[in-house]
Amino acid sequence: MSVARLVSLAILLFLISPFLILIFHFHQTSLPDFGEAFWALKNTFYQAIGSALIAGVMGLGISLGLNGIQKRIQFVEYLLYLPSFLPPLFLILICMSWIDPFPSGIVAIVFIQSLSYAGLLGVEFSRLFRDKVGAISEVGYVLGFSKSQFLFQVLRMLKRDFLGLLFLVFISCFASFAIPLAVGGGRGTTLEVLIYEKIRISGNFSEALFLSLLQSLLLISFVMLLRRRFVQRKNIETRSLTLLSWPFLKGAVLLYIGSYVFGFLADIPSGWSQLFRIQGLSQAILEVLPLSIVLSLGVGFVIYIFVMALAFASREKWIHKFIFSYVTPSTALIGFSYLYLGMSSELMSYLLFCLGFVLLSICSLYRMGVAPVLGGLESQQIVGMALGAGDFLIARRITWPQIHQVALKMSGVGAVWALGDFAFSKIIFSRDVTLGLIVEGLMTSYRLGAAQALMSLILFLGGLIYLFFRGVGYVSRS
């Protein structure tokens, strides 16, 4: 058995470890009510598909506006990513503050989820345009194409790439919990809600596990059915995107950023004032700050190692297809499975947090940034193999140098997510060891303003951590 295959098997075991632990722990199996499960599945599909499509349309508009922005592009991109980092409550509050009366049902779920992912898609679409059609855009300009004609042709040409990115949003919305519940009305029951209900009301982990397995298997089958090839992406220098830059849509970018930035930041000053009035809280924040940053960097580092390992095993196509289509079990199930492993020491809990959080985020990060780049290296790897190079030589000379940057970028994104997490942290940790847990504590005790203020600090620190990983990438490239 080759080393690449061993690495692939290890990655597979890691990804399915929560299922294995829980199946081992719960010998009995009981089946859920299939009528209820089917209804929840239907709701899940409708809201996920709707969210992906609407987010795609909004993202396209944002990308066309973003293409015209030359200065401080990275700062603008970070602002566009931000809504996907905010806790659901803040997103709901921002949306409700703009629309009154706020709808309920599938429309409300789709609206809020689209808004949270439109920025992320806008950035990714913009990068796709630059990487794939930068040169063609110049040719089209010379030949006299109009902007709308060119856009139509580009959309046809990059159909699969767009579908791949929409699928990323689809998967994230598929596993959504808080937003469908809060605004979904009668259609608010998704599979994730059902899983949580089984755990919470009757402590029925067997049924919860079954539903989680069903969720993962359905999605894997769905992707296998589509037989989607990985996106081919060439590394081209950024060119002028005149034909894909619609200046009036710069307003769309500003509107998007402004709508949630102002909605979120408006109450920050009073929130900070509330935060400072809480005795001992400033001290507690300073105490957990170093460990929060260390854990965040730790998650980023493990993600980097994981991505590089995946890159090493890139000729094992099956593991890449698996990760692309895999939906990790819900946060609660992963957390409980790790609890059963036992936390013999604090260090163990820190390590399990890093591993568990990587497990929660790696599939999304893979779909978002790694898969497109790895797909583009296939031809180079084939040439290397044809010339007799082994796996290690191909990885060292071809794959790793080209995946290094994107691995660091995904590490940065994962690290920021980890910094603001409290859902997974509260299962693993028994004390307030992270800023995210302090935010959660404030939210559950009337102090929403203070929670919002602390969240703004987390987002600021997250930005610095993200820039750290990007900076390391630039330094190592030079």
Binding site: A182, G280, L281, L297, L347, L437, G441, T444, S445
Partner: protein, 344 residues
């Protein structure tokens, strides 16, 4: 890339080394017994009663108190079960009356001896459960801002008024204890069939069934809704912290449900005597006052509210809480609730 990996390895080796060094030099690392307490995060945070109780107890017990955040009851049970393998909690705080069946099935508990204290009448009725003692209680009610409503609602039927259309935030009964209590409250008042008929009309008044209390209360705090379900003591927080007297808890003529929060000592406790002494501190007048003022819940002992702002809270008509539906019964009711929502 090799340089990056070496650099990151050195950074983490340094950070973890510093962490170990800090722990080994920790002056608090001593040979005193450690009383391990599991409690909800709002209890043990800086603004909760936990820090005061810890300091007070440590000053007399020649021991150390270690809090562990238990989040919700399900997570608490899982942590207790996993901890018990290696010797776990000495004391557990935060179960409500709906969690007790699950708690008793999960692990064994020690009976707790308490002195005869001047408990409130509704609390006295729960003292037959010798393994779990209530340390605070709350009364559930709908909160409104007086300036926003023409007339305070006095019953469930008043919540069907047009001014409350899409203006109420509640908690989902499948994922939140207050949400479940609302459903059981409604069934208790109207009977099951009529309650579900009522819900068909009432759900149009509900803007959001949030996953938890903070979601629904957050909507209320941010003026997205006119009313939310919380405790009658919640307005005290706004009065004391925000100098806001506009928020009130409305009294329903049908009566209000009570939520008790219990303390229990697992049978696998290592420091059981210390745990019993801590329970005594919880139930002392001093301890009860701190719990009342920091948890914003009622004390179980009479006389503690005197001279405080909590004394001004009216005596709400309370419901009989002696009958607690079993887990199976609750599942049946929730299934019926879900089916009702499916038909919307």
């Amino acid at each position: 890339m090799r340089h990056f990996l070496v650099f990151m390895f050195l950074v983490f080796a340094g950070l973890f080394g510093a962490l170990f060094l800090k722990n080994s030099r920790d002056p608090n690392k001593d040979s005193r017994p450690i009383l391990k307490i599991y409690a909800s995060s709002s209890f043990i945070k800086q603004w909760g009663p936990g820090p005061w109780l810890k300091e007070k107890f440590e000053s007399t017990c020649d021991c150390k108190v270690e809090y562990n955040d238990a989040a919700d009851s399900v997570l608490l049970m899982q942590k207790l079960k996993s901890e018990n393998r290696g010797g776990g909690a000495d004391l557990v705080l935060g179960f409500d009356q709906y969690d007790l069946e699950m708690a008793q099935k999960g692990i064994e508990w020690k009976p707790i001896k308490i002195e005869s204290l001047n408990f409130y009448e509704p609390v006295r009725a729960t003292l037959s459960r010798t393994h779990f003692i209530p340390y605070d209680w709350g009364v559930l009610a709908f909160l409104v801002r007086q300036s926003e409503v023409k007339e305070l609602p006095k019953s469930f039927d008043d919540l069907l008024m047009p001014e409350f259309a899409g203006q109420i935030s509640l908690q989902d009964p499948r994922t939140s204890s207050p949400g479940l209590q609302f459903l059981l409250w409604l069934i208790s008042v109207k009977g099951e069939e009529e309650a579900f008929q009522f819900l068909k009309k009432f759900n149009a008044q509900v803007k959001s069934y949030g996953a938890n209390w903070s979601m629904s209360y957050g909507l209320f705090q941010k003026n997205q809704v006119k009313s939310t379900l919380s405790w009658v003591t919640s307005p005290v927080f706004h009065l004391l912290e925000e100098k806001n007297s506009d928020i009130v808890a409305v009294e329903f003529k049908e009566g209000h449900p009570i939520q008790f929060e219990y303390v229990g000592i697992p049978a696998t406790c290592k420091n059981c005597d210390l745990a019993e002494k801590f329970v005594k501190l919880l139930l002392s007048k001093e301890g009860q006052k701190v719990i009342m003022e920091k948890n914003f819940m009622f004390p179980v002992i009479q006389g503690v509210r005197d001279g405080t702002v909590f004394e001004s809270i009216p005596n709400y008509k309370l419901m009989d809480m002696n009958v607690i539906p079993t887990i199976a019964e609750r599942e049946r009711i929730l299934k019926k609730w879900t089916q009702l929502r499916r038909a919307e």
